[in-house]
């Protein structure tokens, strides 16, 4: 198959019929319901039969009297006042360009993504500053991201083993240039800090090749 040709355009490859594109009603045609999008007759979703019929339906369309469907639009907006709780020192110190992790006083495990309580020992941990250097453990290069995430494509999600920590840390890898083949596991990484205002405190930092 030629490169770039989508299999979805080949009708023989998809057996299930595509849904008809029903255009939304115009303002004046909505009747008394302002949010009405459309009223339409829905198909039988089981669609055309294959070679064999495992569905024991006496009537081929038992729901034929219930196929007229109205669709409306319903908007909802939500804003949260989200508390960062006992993890807050980590986020507060990012503004001072300091990277903090937590260390368990009992087992000595250093959690790179801080935890106020070590889950292995249930001991209250202590804050520990890390140098902000490390190595790349794994990464993924995305050509797609849901639009709400607001990052420039392509972007790299990196899993980094920070020096002095025992667990990994996930963040974006930025400023890696344009050559993807230069990103390799095991490469040295450093933490970089923002100079611009950000919407979430975790975006005050990211990773860069060291």
């Amino acid at each position: 198959m030629a490169k770039g040709v989508s299999v979805f355009k080949d009708p023989e490859k998809t057996l299930y019929p595509k849904l008809p594109d029903v255009p939304d009603l115009k303002e004046g045609d909505r009747g008394l319901v302002r949010t009405k999008l459309h009223t339409f007759t829905a198909d039988d979703p089981v669609g055309p039969k294959l070679h064999w019929d495992p569905i024991h339906r006496a009537d081929q369309d038992p729901w034929k009297d219930f196929r007229e469907i109205m669709r409306i639009e319903w908007k909802m907006e939500i804003t949260y006042r989200h508390c960062l709780g006992k993890y807050s020192k980590f986020f507060i110190e990012l503004e001072n360009k300091k990277f903090y992790a937590t260390e368990c006083p009992k087992c000595g495990f250093v959690w790179a993504i801080p935890r106020p309580v070590c889950p292995d020992c249930l001991e209250i941990t202590t804050w520990k500053e890390l140098p902000g250097t490390g190595t790349l453990e794994s990464y993924s290069i995305s050509e797609f991201v849901p639009a709400f995430m607001k990052v420039e494509l392509p972007y790299v999600l990196a899993m980094v083993k920070l020096d002095g920590a025992d667990s990994l840390f996930t963040h974006q890898l930025r400023n890696w240039g344009t050559d993807r083949s230069k990103i390799k596991t095991g490469m040295p990484i450093k933490v970089a800090y923002t100079k611009e205002p950000v919407n979430h405190p975790l975006l005050s930092m990211w990773f860069e090749p060291a």
Binding site: K13, T14, R71, I141, E143, F144, P146, S167, Q172
Partner: protein
């Protein structure tokens, strides 16, 4: 543990599709329940208890949705509980049925699962809802979303064992192909490895065709004790009897980054290993690769299926890639996996997925599947594995045919 035995009496599925505009979520549940009740040959009025399985309250902008399903099918005033475990929700619901019946809280239970993920919300918003199932403080903020996490795992698997992208693609080819013989499936397709490799890149190494689907649909299973079935189910003497013989559950750190090295690290599913160990022990299975006739693996992304096979002990660590090339897990192979089409071919309405898997195992063990996808029964045992998050919640269930 009590000596009550738990049997699966029947199952029903309503068509999986990208967008079910012919009804809404409560209609699909009702369809699936009606089919399951007919399949099991029981009256809804006789069933003691219900379990509701759905993942997100956001998709259908409805909280406590279970109450609506419950009254739609005439189960009031009988008890109902909801279970939730991300993608593992359906598998956990099946386990819940076992626990309740085994404990003697009820003699029969109907479980129904569904999700309304289609185009009630734009794909973007759907992605956002699903992203909320990862850590919103630490992962979502850095533009982490599920395909990217799994891609991190797969890269690590590729580097550790030399698995190739083409081997991942084989899982997608197989599952789309198996779906052709499943009338309920959303995405039956005859494709090749090249089609997968040439489909648009989402997150390296994943292309569009490596991914599972956003689906609308519902499914339902009915469980009961032997005594209950003898008096209430007309199918008991007519259909092969399928016993629920093993169940296991496991969990792992929500964030991949926290998982201990070297095992599971960011390569493996520790929860799956733990869950399957429990389930096999309970079912008395020593060598799962030999003793099981079919398995439904949670293939949210093609690579997940390969890694899962290893952690479920269906093959050794690092062996899945070459075995996929051999066709070991294909229909007609040694151990057919995802004969229904799996999440990639069948669809993935989260709350229904695990139950779909259970129904597929039931269908296979009763030898009622389409002749092209029916597996030969050697031991009459089949399994399913259902997982949520990046292997954060896992349920493994084993069924056996007892004639």
């Amino acid at each position: 543990m009590s000596d009550r035995r738990v049997f699966v009496l029947g199952g029903g599925i309503s068509k999986m599709a990208a967008e079910r505009v012919d009804g809404n979520i409560r209609d699909w549940v009702t369809e699936a329940v009606m089919e399951a009740v007919a399949d099991a040959g029981v009256e809804i009025a006789d069933i003691d208890h219900a379990t509701t399985s759905y993942f997100s309250d956001h998709f259908d902008k409805q909280l406590k949705m279970g109450a609506i399903f419950h009254d739609c099918i005439g189960m009031c005033p009988k008890p109902n509980v909801r279970v939730e475990g991300g993608g593992g929700t359906g598998g956990l619901a099946i386990r819940n049925a076992y626990a309740y019946i085994k404990a003697g809280l009820c003699d029969s239970m109907i479980i129904y699962g569904t999700e309304n993920m289609g185009r009630h919300v734009p794909s973007d918003v759907a992605q956002q809802f699903i992203a909320l199932a990862s850590d919103t403080d630490w992962e979502v903020q850095v533009a982490g979303f599920y395909i990217a996490y799994y891609a991190l795992m797969m890269l690590s698997h590729m580097e550790k064992y030399g698995t190739k992208e083409e081997q991942f693609a084989l899982a997608s080819v197989k599952n789309h192909r198996n779906a052709i013989y499943n009338e309920y499936a959303q995405s039956p397709m005859r494709i090749t490895v090249d089609d997968v490799m040439n489909s648009p890149l989402i997150t390296s190494p994943y292309k569009l065709l490596d991914n599972c689907l956003l689906s609308d649909g519902a499914s339902c299973l009915i469980f009961a004790t032997e005594e209950w079935a003898k008096t209430h189910s007309t199918s008991w003497y007519r259909k092969p009897r399928i016993e629920f013989v093993g169940t296991g559950c496991g969990s792992d750190y929500m964030r991949l980054a926290d998982r201990p090295l070297p095992y599971p690290g960011i390569t493996h599913f520790r929860a799956k290993k733990n869950a399957s160990k429990q389930a096999y022990k309970m079912a008395g299975i020593k060598n799962p690769a030999k003793e099981l006739d079919c398995f439904e693996v949670h293939d949210a992304y093609s690579g997940v299926e390969l890694v899962s096979c290893e952690d479920l002990r269906l093959c050794g660590y690092g062996q899945s890639g070459p075995l996929y090339e051999e066709g070991y897990f294909d229909l007609g192979g040694e151990l057919p996996i995802n004969t229904s089409g799996g999440l990639i071919g069948m669809g993935h309405p989260v709350g229904a997925t695990g139950i779909n898997q259970g129904i597929e195992v039931l269908t296979q063990l009763r030898e009622e599947a389409h002749p092209q996808r029916q597996v030969p029964l050697n031991n009459g045992q089949g399994g399913m594995d259902s997982h949520g998050g990046t292997g954060t919640f896992v349920a493994v269930n084993i069924f056996r045919r007892v004639d």
